[in-house]
C-alpha cells in the first residue's frame, strides 16, 4: 500500500537497526509515549531488532487504558438509562468498569452504539429529538478537536438532547509527572506523532530543557519508530537534549492552528485522574462554563464514584517503566484481555494487551 509499505520495508529496517547498533555505546532507556507505537513495536517485533543496551519503556499514551474506572462506571450508569443513546468509539465498549462493561449493558437492552466520529453522535441527536444522545469523549490531543467540534456544532444547532462524558487527557503533563518521579529511569522520549500533528511541538521545549531529556516527535510505522530511536540515541550519545521532529511528513512545529483554536474555545485545562498513575495536575480537558450544559456528568447528576483498582495489578509500575508485563504474576492467567485486572490490559494498545496478544509464550 502506497505511503505505508515504504515504512515497513524489511531491508531498510535492518539497515536502520544496524545503524542503531553502531551508534549505541552504553545502556539507554527510551520511552515511547503512545500506545499506537507500543502496539507497532510489539506487533512488528521492532524491539527485537535493537541492541540489548536499549530498553524500551511503554508509556501511558493509550487513552482507553488511562480512563479511570470511575468514569467507566459513570458511562455505564448513563448508558443504562432508557432514554439514552450512548455513543462511543468502539474500543471503549470492551473496557470493564468495576462490575460490568458497555457491551454487557448493550446485551441487556441498552442502546449503545459505535460511532467513528463524535459528529455522527451530533447527527443522531438531531435525528432523535425525543432521546438523549451522549458521546463518550476520551482521548489525547489527537481526538480533542473532533470532540470540540461536536460540542461547538451542537451548541450552534441549539441541541438540548446532546451531551458528552469527557475524559480527555494531555501528553506534556504526563511526561512532566513521569520525569519528576524519583523512580524515573527514562532518558529519552519518543513523543506521539499524531498528538503533535494537532498541537505542534513547541510545548516540549521547556520539558526537554528542564529535565535534560531528548524528545523526538515520532511516527507510527516500523521505520518511523526505528528512525526515532536512532535520533534519540544519537542525541544521548552526543550529550544533547533537544526536541527533534522525525515525523516531518505529518507534523509542523506550530501544529494545526484552527484545531488548537477550537480546543481552546470549547475546553479548559483541568486536573485529571489517570488510571494506573493517579491524579496529575493540569493534565486533562474539561468543558468551559459556556458549554457546561453539554456536560453529561452534570446533566445526569452523577454521583461521585470512588473505586479501588485490584491490588494485584501492577499497571502503574508498567506505565512508569519500572516493570514489564511478564513481571506480573497475574499476566496471562488471572489477567487477560477478556478479563483484565487493570489499565494496561484493557485496550489493544495497552502494553500488557500487546504482550498478551503477540508474545505470551
Amino acid at each position: 500500500m502506497k505511503f505505508l509499505d515504504e515504512y515497513r520495508d524489511g531491508e531498510l529496517a535492518q539497515k536502520l537497526a544496524a545503524e542503531i547498533h553502531r551508534a549505541t555505546t552504553r545502556p539507554r532507556t527510551i520511552m515511547e509515549v503512545c500506545g499506537g507505537q507500543t502496539h507497532a513495536i510489539v506487533k512488528f517485533g521492532i524491539d527485537e531488532l535493537l541492541p540489548e543496551k536499549i530498553t524500551l519503556i511503554h508509556g501511558p499514551g493509550c487513552p482507553v487504558c488511562v480512563t479511570p474506572l470511575e468514569v467507566i462506571d459513570q458511562a455505564l450508569e448513563i448508558a443504562a438509562r432508557p432514554e439514552v443513546i450512548f455513543t462511543s468509539f468502539g474500543d471503549m465498549l470492551r473496557v470493564p468498569g468495576s462490575t460490568t462493561d458497555l457491551l454487557a449493558v448493550k446485551a441487556k437492552g441498552s442502546d449503545v452504539r459505535i460511532v467513528y466520529s463524535p459528529l455522527d453522535a451530533v447527527k443522531l441527536a438531531e435525528e432523535n429529538p425525543a432521546r438523549e444522545v451522549v458521546f463518550f469523549g476520551v482521548g489525547f490531543e489527537t481526538t480533542a478537536p473532533a470532540t470540540a467540534m461536536a460540542v461547538f456544532q451542537a451548541a450552534q444547532k441549539g441541541l438540548e438532547n446532546f451531551s458528552m462524558l469527557i475524559s480527555h487527557v494531555l501528553v506534556p503533563p504526563a511526561i512532566e509527572a513521569l520525569m519528576s518521579s524519583p523512580d524515573c529511569r527514562v532518558q529519552a522520549f519518543l513523543a506521539a506523532g499524531h498528538v503533535c500533528a494537532v498541537m505542534g511541538y513547541e510545548e516540549y521545549f521547556p520539558l526537554a530543557k528542564k529535565y535534560r531529556v531528548p524528545i523526538v516527535v515520532t511516527g507510527f510505522e516500523p521505520l518511523d519508530i526505528l528512525h526515532g530511536i536512532l535520533m534519540a540515541v544519537q542525541q544521548l550519545e552526543s550529550g544533547r537534549a533537544e526536541v527533534e521532529n522525525q515525523y516531518a511528513r505529518a507534523v509542523t512545529r506550530a501544529g494545526n492552528q484552527p484545531a488548537q483554536d477550537l480546543i481552546k474555545k470549547v475546553f479548559k485545562v483541568v486536573p485529571r485522574k489517570w488510571r494506573g498513575i493517579g491524579e496529575i495536575p493540569q493534565s486533562g480537558l474539561g468543558l468551559r462554563e459556556a458549554y457546561a450544559t453539554f456536560d453529561a456528568a452534570r446533566k445526569f447528576r452523577l454521583a461521585d464514584h470512588r473505586v479501588e483498582e485490584p491490588a494485584e495489578c501492577i499497571a502503574g509500575l508498567i506505565l512508569q517503566g519500572l516493570k514489564k508485563p511478564h513481571d506480573c504474576p497475574a499476566f496471562g492467567t488471572r489477567c487477560t484481555p477478556e478479563h483484565p485486572l487493570g489499565a494496561t490490559m484493557v485496550s489493544s494498545e495497552g502494553a500488557c494487551a500487546a504482550y498478551y496478544r503477540y508474545r505470551r509464550h
Binding site: 502506497k2 505505508l4 535492518q14 512488528f44 457491551l103 477478556e338 503477540y358
Partner: protein
C-alpha cells in the same frame, strides 16, 4: 423432581462469567469458540460432532433388507455411502452488498462448508425467517439469486420452510440452509489429520467480504468499491482431490478470518503452525480500508477463501492446480506446520521477526454473514 435436581447439580451453567449472550459470542473469535466448546459441544458431544469440522462426515448404509447374517453385513459395508452434512444461518446486513446478497451467500457458504470435507455438494434445504413488511420484490430478488447460485454450484434446493415474524422481531430477512454432499474419495480430511511438515496454502487474497460489508454499513467511501469474495470453492477442492493431492485438512475462512482458522486447527491437531506476513495475499484496497479502521486483514471474514493443509511433497502441484481455477487463481503458499507441540500459530512480520498470531478475542465486525 429428583431427576430435575440431579440435572441441575450436574449441569451448572458452563460460561458463568457471562450472564448474557454478547455479540462477540457470534463474532468468530475466542468468545465464540468458548461458547461452542462449553455450551453446545458439552451438551451435544458425540464422535462426529467432536471432530469440529466445517461439515460433519458420516456413513449411511444403502436402503433395503436387514443385516442379520454376517454375509449380509459384509455386503452392506461395501455399499456404505459416505456423506457430509452442514448447516448455516445467514443474517447479513445489508441484504444486498457489493459482490453478492444474502441469497447467493446462503448457497455459497453452505456449499463451501461441504467442500471442506472434500464432498461434492448435492442438496440444500432453505429456511426463511421473514419480517413482516419486507418488500415482496426484495424477497423475489433474493430467491432468484439463490436459484442462480444453486444452479451455478450444481446443487438442488429440495426442501424448505417459511416463517413470518412480527415487525420489529426480525431484521428483514434471515435464511438458514442445510447442505448434504457425497464424499467420493478415501482421504481423511480433518483438523486432527494435520501433521508436521504440511504446507499451508491459502486460496486467494483475504479480507474482501468483511471489508465490503463494513464499507457499505459504515458509509465508507474508497476510490474503488470493494466487492465481496463470496463464491463457491468446491470445484477447486474437487480438482485437488482428483489430481491425487494428499490433503490433510481444509477450512474456509469465514468469521474470525485466517487467524481464527489457523488457531482452531493448531488446537485440534496439537501443532505449531508458522506463516509469513509477506506471503499472505491481501489486496491493496482491503489493506487500506483495514488500516483506516484499525482492523487486521487476517482477522477479517471471507466467503470464498479457504486454507488447505497438504503433504509437503504435493505443495507445488496443489498450488498449480488451485491457480488454474478461477476462484483460487490468487492462491499462495503461506507457511507450514512446524512440529507437534502445544497449540501455537506464529507470524513472521515484514521485518523478519516472529510473533504470535492470535485468535481475535471478541467481535471484529458485527453480522457479516
Amino acid at each position: 423432581m429428583e431427576n430435575n435436581l440431579n440435572f441441575t447439580a450436574s449441569c451448572p451453567l458452563p460460561i458463568s462469567q457471562y450472564p448474557h449472550v454478547l455479540m462477540a459470542h457470534g463474532g468468530g473469535g475466542r468468545l465464540m469458540h468458548k461458547l461452542l466448546e462449553e455450551v453446545f459441544g458439552r451438551a451435544f458431544s458425540n464422535p462426529i460432532l467432536d471432530t469440529r469440522h466445517d461439515s460433519a462426515q458420516f456413513t449411511i448404509p444403502s436402503c433395503g433388507g436387514d443385516a442379520s447374517s454376517p454375509s449380509q453385513t459384509a455386503t452392506r459395508a461395501s455399499q456404505l455411502h459416505k456423506l457430509a452434512m452442514t448447516t448455516d444461518s445467514y443474517v447479513v446486513r445489508p441484504i444486498f452488498f457489493p459482490g453478492g446478497d444474502i441469497g447467493s451467500l446462503a448457497v455459497h457458504g453452505t456449499v463451501n462448508d461441504l467442500a471442506m470435507s472434500g464432498a461434492r455438494p448435492l442438496y440444500l434445504s432453505c429456511g426463511f425467517i421473514i419480517e413482516e413488511g419486507l418488500p415482496m420484490e426484495t424477497l423475489w430478488r433474493v430467491v432468484c439469486s439463490m436459484r442462480d447460485a444453486a444452479k451455478k454450484c450444481g446443487v438442488q434446493i429440495i426442501t424448505g420452510d417459511t416463517k413470518v415474524v412480527d415487525k420489529g422481531k426480525g431484521d428483514g430477512l434471515f435464511i438458514n440452509t442445510t447442505g448434504i454432499g457425497v464424499i467420493e474419495h478415501g482421504q481423511k480430511i480433518a483438523p486432527q489429520n494435520v501433521r508436521p511438515g504440511d504446507a499451508v496454502l491459502v486460496s486467494g487474497d483475504l479480507g474482501r467480504h468483511g471489508m465490503a460489508i463494513m464499507a457499505v454499513r459504515e458509509g465508507l467511501q474508497f476510490e474503488s468499491t470493494i466487492e465481496s469474495d463470496s463464491t463457491p470453492v468446491h470445484e477447486a477442492v474437487l480438482n485437488l482431490i482428483e489430481a491425487g493431492i494428499e490433503i490433510h485438512c481444509l477450512r474456509d475462512l469465514t468469521r474470525g478470518g485466517l487467524a481464527s482458522a489457523l488457531n482452531e486447527i493448531a488446537e485440534a491437531a496439537g501443532v505449531k503452525i508458522a506463516v509469513e506476513q509477506t506471503l499472505i495475499p491481501v489486496r491493496e484496497d482491503v489493506h487500506a480500508a483495514c488500516e483506516m479502521l484499525g482492523l487486521d486483514p487476517l482477522h477479517v471474514a471471507n466467503e470464498g477463501r479457504f486454507i488447505a493443509f497438504v503433504a509437503a511433497r504435493d505443495a507445488d502441484c496443489a498450488l498449480q492446480i488451485l491457480r488454474g481455477c478461477e476462484v483460487s487463481s490468487g492462491a499462495a503458499l503461506i507457511g507450514k506446520v512446524v512440529e507437534k507441540s502445544a497449540p501455537l500459530v506464529t507470524l513472521k512480520s515484514a521485518l523478519g521477526v516472529g510473533r504470535i498470531l492470535d485468535m481475535p478475542s471478541g467481535e471484529q465486525l458485527p453480522r457479516i454473514c
